[in-house]
């Protein structure tokens, strides 16, 4: 059974998310900063009357921050009943991965947070990091986001 993933770049690294997790992809829009939360929460946006937070995964993966530009894209996801967006540099494409192409997460240096990585996939000479979104933005994580409390 092949599964479809949508891939995007953060700097030079290519990440993949199962396509059925994504509700919608929207262009970059101005968000409203929220006081008293961690940097990873960039702010709130409105999409057709629904207000939801935008996260920047770069900060989650300890990548240096980057100015957003017209290529920046927001993936709108629904995780555990909550709608949220993640902002990424640019989408690359939709790929189909066969089980053979998906490899278990390799051992990495301890400084890299592997708990958010479900697996890595290898296709031709591309290495795609498949994210475990439920882990990245689950409720516990949200609570932890409260920097002031």
């Amino acid at each position: 059974m092949e599964e479809q993933y949508i891939t995007f770049y953060l700097d030079d690294e290519e990440y993949g998310i199962e396509i059925n997790k994504i509700r919608e992809i929207i262009g970059y829009r101005r968000f409203t900063r929220v006081p008293g939360v961690k940097d990873i929460v960039k702010g709130m946006v409105n999409l057709r009357g629904v207000i939801f937070p935008i996260f920047d995964l770069r900060l989650k993966f300890n990548l240096p921050p980057k100015e957003y530009n017209k290529f920046s894209v927001i993936f709108v996801l629904e995780i555990a009943g909550r709608i949220m967006g993640i902002i990424v540099d640019t989408t690359s494409d939709v790929i189909s991965l066969s089980p053979a192409e998906i490899l278990p997460t390799p051992r990495l240096s301890p400084s890299i947070r592997t708990e958010y990585i479900k697996a890595v996939a290898q296709q031709d000479d591309r290495l795609i990091i498949l994210l475990d979104l439920e882990r990245i933005l689950d409720e516990k994580e949200l609570e932890e986001l409260d920097a002031t409390a």
Binding site: T32, G36, N46, G49, I51
Partner: protein, 713 residues
Amino acid sequence: MEQDELLQIYFSEAEELLQTMEHSLMTLESDPQNQSVINEVFRAMHTMKSSSAMLGFTQLSEHTHLLENLMERIRSKQLSITQNLVSFLLENHDLIKSAVESAAQGKPDVGLDAFPAMAEKVKRFLGLAAEQEEGRVTAPITTGMSGGQKESSKGSYYEINMRFRKDIFQTGQDPLMLLYELGDLAEIISVETDLSSLPPFMEMDPFQLYLAWRLLIKTDRPLSTIEKVFVFVQEDELNQISIRDVSSHFRDGVDTRMANKPLGEILIDQKLVSEQEIQEVLTQQKKVGEALLEKGKISPAELNNIVDLQEKSRAVLRKSTVRVDTDKLDQLANMVEEMTIQLARISAILGDLPPDVTRKLGSEPDSLNRIGREVQEQVMRLRMFPIEGTFQRFQRMARDLAREQHKQIKIILGGGETELDKDVIEHINDPLTHIIRNCIGHGIEVPDERKQSGKSPEGIINLNAYQQEGKIYIKISDDGRGIDAEAVRQKAIERGLIKENDQPLPEEIYKFLFIPGFSTAKKVSSISGRGVGMDVVQNNIQQLGGTIDIFSEKGKGTTFVIKLPLTLAVIDGMYVGVGADIFVIPLLTVLSTAKLEKGNLKTIEGKGEVVRLGDSYVPLIHLDRLLGIERRQTDTEPLVVFVSSEKRILGLGVDEILDHQQVVIKNLEKNFRRISGIAGGAIMPDGSVALVLDVYGLDHLFFGRNRVHELVH
């Protein structure tokens, strides 16, 4: 999937039925002869039985079947209602309720073990009441309920108006024959005779017809058959015959049009009183029915009959509501809101077009905008529910608590039809529970004590809701012992809240009860009769954007007045700019605005700042610092907005004051979480989000960190 949906419907229906049951049972306690209430319980049990059976909840269905039999005995007056019987039925209600609730949580087998024992008890009631006629008891149930319903669901209803030429007898026709014929073809439900053209007796010509009729018939024959009855008279233009299919107004044989009509109008329709008589009594400040009774314009039997019909009509109409997932409602609300925002944007673009184009458009864009706003308002109203259900729950609670504490308490409900936002209703339950518990536990005295102070042994708690000045008021008052203001004052002195010789007004004294930890002090609660946690109550209400006040008279009773905004969803907001960010301050909390100048600014211990407002100084909160907003300039904000956080008045330092506007406020918890100092988000005309400040939260956020100001105040 389908089964799931069925289950959902079943659970919400069961909840409603159980509520009806409970409410009606309690009504029966004070009004045991009320046949329509008995019927209501019976119907609830019956429906519960059928739907439980349909979904395979056998035990529930069997048990309700037994109860239904019991109710049937009551209905047929073989068993009379006593307080014990009501208690027993309430016990049964609770048992069913808990079983339904555990089934709703996916544990259908939990709580069933109590059923056999209870069933035995029911059977005993049944056996004791009428040993001899076991067979007859069950028989009417089938005909009375399911049979009856089936019958009434078939067939159509027609309203027939007949007015004939006066000399109809000379044409060889007799209206009476037509009526007979109709009676053969259909069930005649009602006949009203119009006597208005009847002349004085002396002028009457016995060969003339002065009467006209209005009939309501029910038949399963086609309309053409009914029309054929009139075929001979209808040819003559002087006879006016109209037949109207009114089936859509009837459900289960009940005229649903009555539900929304004022009693007076129904009485006029039924020709029981004249319009003039109604107009007369309307000028008095009384209920129409009562006033008419007093004047002898109508007999009690007639009135009861009509009121009964009206109630039936309402009951049937209530069933015709549609249950909608609130998520769907929210989605709809969101889309409508977005639509109005888009409309506003389009209007702005249209405004920039050359005059010849705008002229062509005329007022069309305006009316489109108006429709948009109306749609938005209607959608908001969809979220409003009457507070009745919440009130009724307290009746039960009060009854049980009173019994426990050997007190006699009557709860009088008023304004149950007042509609509140669904969210408000959900959140108002806890504070109301708390207050009513207090009223019962501490306010109302035991019967002996009441008698001694010359009161009736039965304490009364009034629960009332109404709308006034754009707010919802909920008033809870008891006629108990009241609050001892002096004891509270002493306690306040002890706690150092006021000085020995301070004599605050009673209203101010009662406010001390809201201070955390104050009312929990044993001494006060034993003297004043007010128990724990009034601060929690106030907190809950403030979170809903409301306020609470206490009024009390020692020995006479206590009244709590809760004021709530009409809806949580829409607030009047003041847009303010802080740095590059825009925030909304609820206008309800804004007192005034001023320039922030050196002259009206003072510092305390070099840290805390206070700003002058009139004769006093209030704490100044720099929003930029509190909320961590970067500023381009380093000096402080040029403007201050004075807001009231209930606890105290605060000055909020801002850069700009932009605009006043109604905003739809949305919670951020749905997709994110609660943020201290922020009440929610609002969508601005350009589609971006502005955060709505929560003044109480800001207060908390600020004073949580900054003790200096506590000392100032």
